[in-house]
Amino acid sequence: MKRGEFRTLNLKALWQGLVGRDGGAGNRIVPPTGFTAHLTLFSAGAMAFLAVFALALALATGRLAERWSSELAQSVTVRVGASEGNQDALTQSVMQILQTTPGVGQPRLLPDDEVAELLTPWFGPDLPIDALPVPDLIEMPIAGPDFDSEGLRLRLEAEAPGAILDDHTEWRRPLVSAAQRLRALGVISLVLIAAASAAMITLAAKAALAANGQVIQVLRLIGARDITIAIAFVRRFTHRAAIGAGAGTVLGMGAMALLPNMDAAGGFLTGLGFHGWGWLIPLLIPVVAAAVGFFATKWAALKMLESVR
C-alpha cells in the first residue's frame, strides 16, 4: 500500500469529523475503554496543571527581566570624587559636560540629604555627611537613543579626571541574564510538558488501537475508509485531552489566584502570576492539549492502519 495515501488523510476531513455532528454509530464503533480514557484524562489534567505554573514562571521572569533592564537603563549616575580637593569646581565642570551631551535629559546634582539617605543603610541615620569626603552624585536621565555611554566615559576621563560614569551595566547584566535564563527554563518546561503529553496520549491511543485491532479489521472489511476509522479514535482522544487539560488548567489557575498577595510577598516573588489580560493566556492550554491529542492520535491511528489492508 502506498504510504503517501496515509499522508493524504487530510486534516480538513479529520477536522470536520472532529467537530461535526456524529453520524449514527460513528462515535460508538470504538468500544468504551475505561483504562485509556482515565489515563488520558488524568495525564492531560496533570500536565495542564503543571503547564499553568510553567507559563506563570515564564511570564513573570520575562516581566522581571524587562523591568530590571528598562528601569536601570533609564538613567546613569556620575560620581565625582573628593580626593583632589577641588570637588565643587570639578562637579561644575562635569555638569557643563553633561548638559552638552546628546541623548540625555537634565542632569541633577543630588542634594546632601538625598545622599545621606542613600548612605543610611550602611552608616545609620546620624551620619555627619559634611564631615566626610563623600563624593557628589549626579543623576541624569537617558532621553534618547543617541546617548553614547562609552563616548561620555572617555570625555569625562579626558576633561574631568576623577569623575566616574556608572551606567549600572556591571550589576544589571547578571540580573537580567538570570531572569532571561529563568524565562528560557519556563519555556523549555512548557515544551517538555507538551512533548510528555504527546507521548502519553500517543501511548494511550496506541494501546486503544491495539486493543481494537479486530474492530479496525472488521470496519475495513465492510468498506470503511481510513478517514472514518481514524476519526473515531482521533475524536475520542482529542475530546479527552481537551477535557482533562481544561480541568487541570482551571485547577492551576485557581491555585495561582490563591497565592499570597504579591506586593506583600515582595522580593523575587513580586510579579509572579498572571495580571489583567494575562489571565486569558492559560486558557490556550486546553486548546494546545486538544491539538496535541489530535496529532498524536492521528499519527498512532495511521501507523495502525498501515498494518491493515
Binding site: G24, A25, R28, I29, G223, T228
Partner: protein
C-alpha cells in the same frame, strides 16, 4: 463484475497456492467453490474483495484493475461486495441491529429503521435486534452476517463456508436466503466442501460448481 484472468497467488515468494485462475462473476450467476481444506478457497475469496493481491495475472472488479486501487478505492469496492466470513466477526459491544447497519454507518448513509426491521425479519432475527452478538447461536450469527453483507445491496455476495458450524436445517435456511438474493440478480459465490449441500441447492437453482485442485480452478464433473 469480477474478472480473474490467469491469476496466481502465493503467500511466499516462489511458492504458488493458486495459479492460472480464470473466473468471471456476472450478475445473476450462482457459483459454488469446493475443494479440500487448505486448497485455497478462502484465498480465492480474499482476492475477490482485495484483501489479497494477485502475484501474477489480472484481477479486475467493476471494470477497475484491483492492483491499482487506492485504499479508498478498496473501501469502495468492498461496499459492492458483501462477504459472509467463515468466522463471522462483529463488534461485540454493539447490538445486532447496529452491527448489521455498520456498512451504512461507515459509508455515511442514513439507517432506514423500517428497512432494517424488514431485513432482520428476512433473516429471522427481528427478535434479536437488541441482543449483543456473543449471545447469538452459530446459525444466528451467520444470518446476522448475511444481513450485514447485503444491507448495502451489493452486486456480489461471497460466502466462505457459511454453513460450516450449522446443522442441516439451519444450513438449508441460510442457503435459501442466498438463493433468494441470487434471484434478485446478485452474483453469489459460496465456498464449501459440503457436497450434499451443493446437490440440494442445485436442485433449486442453476449453479456452476468450481473445484480447486492442485492449485488450479476446474469445473466440477457431472457427479455434482
Amino acid at each position: 463484475m469480477i474478472e480473474m484472468q490467469d491469476v496466481s497467488f502465493g503467500y511466499r515468494a516462489g511458492s504458488e497456492l493458486l495459479s492460472g485462475m480464470t473466473l468471471s462473476l456476472q450478475p445473476g450467476m450462482f457459483h459454488f467453490l469446493t475443494g479440500p481444506s487448505g486448497s485455497g478457497k478462502t484465498t480465492l475469496l480474499r482476492l475477490c474483495y482485495a484483501d489479497l493481491l494477485p502475484t501474477a495475472g489480472r484481477l479486475s472488479a467493476f471494470g477497475q484493475d484491483v492492483a491499482g486501487l487506492s485504499r479508498d478505492g478498496i473501501a469502495m469496492l468492498r461496499r459492492r461486495v458483501g462477504v459472509v466470513h467463515q468466522d463471522t466477526q462483529f463488534l461485540d459491544h454493539l447490538p445486532v441491529a447496529e452491527n448489521v447497519a455498520l456498512p451504512l454507518s461507515v459509508s455515511g448513509q442514513p439507517v432506514d429503521m423500517a428497512a432494517m426491521r424488514d431485513l432482520l425479519g428476512w433473516v429471522q432475527l427481528a427478535q434479536h435486534a437488541r441482543a449483543l452478538p456473543p449471545s447469538l447461536s452459530g446459525g444466528e450469527r451467520q444470518r446476522a452476517a448475511l444481513a450485514r453483507a447485503v444491507i448495502l445491496s451489493p452486486d456480489v455476495v461471497l460466502a466462505d463456508e457459511p454453513t460450516g458450524n450449522l446443522d442441516w436445517d439451519m444450513s438449508m435456511r441460510l442457503m435459501q436466503l442466498l438463493i433468494e438474493l441470487n434471484k434478485t440478480g446478485k452474483a453469489v459465490l459460496v465456498a464449501t466442501h459440503d457436497l450434499n449441500l451443493i446437490r440440494a441447492v442445485k436442485a433449486q437453482v442453476s449453479a456452476r460448481v468450481l473445484r480447486i485442485a492442485g492449485g488450479t480452478l476446474q469445473l466440477a464433473g457431472a457427479d455434482l
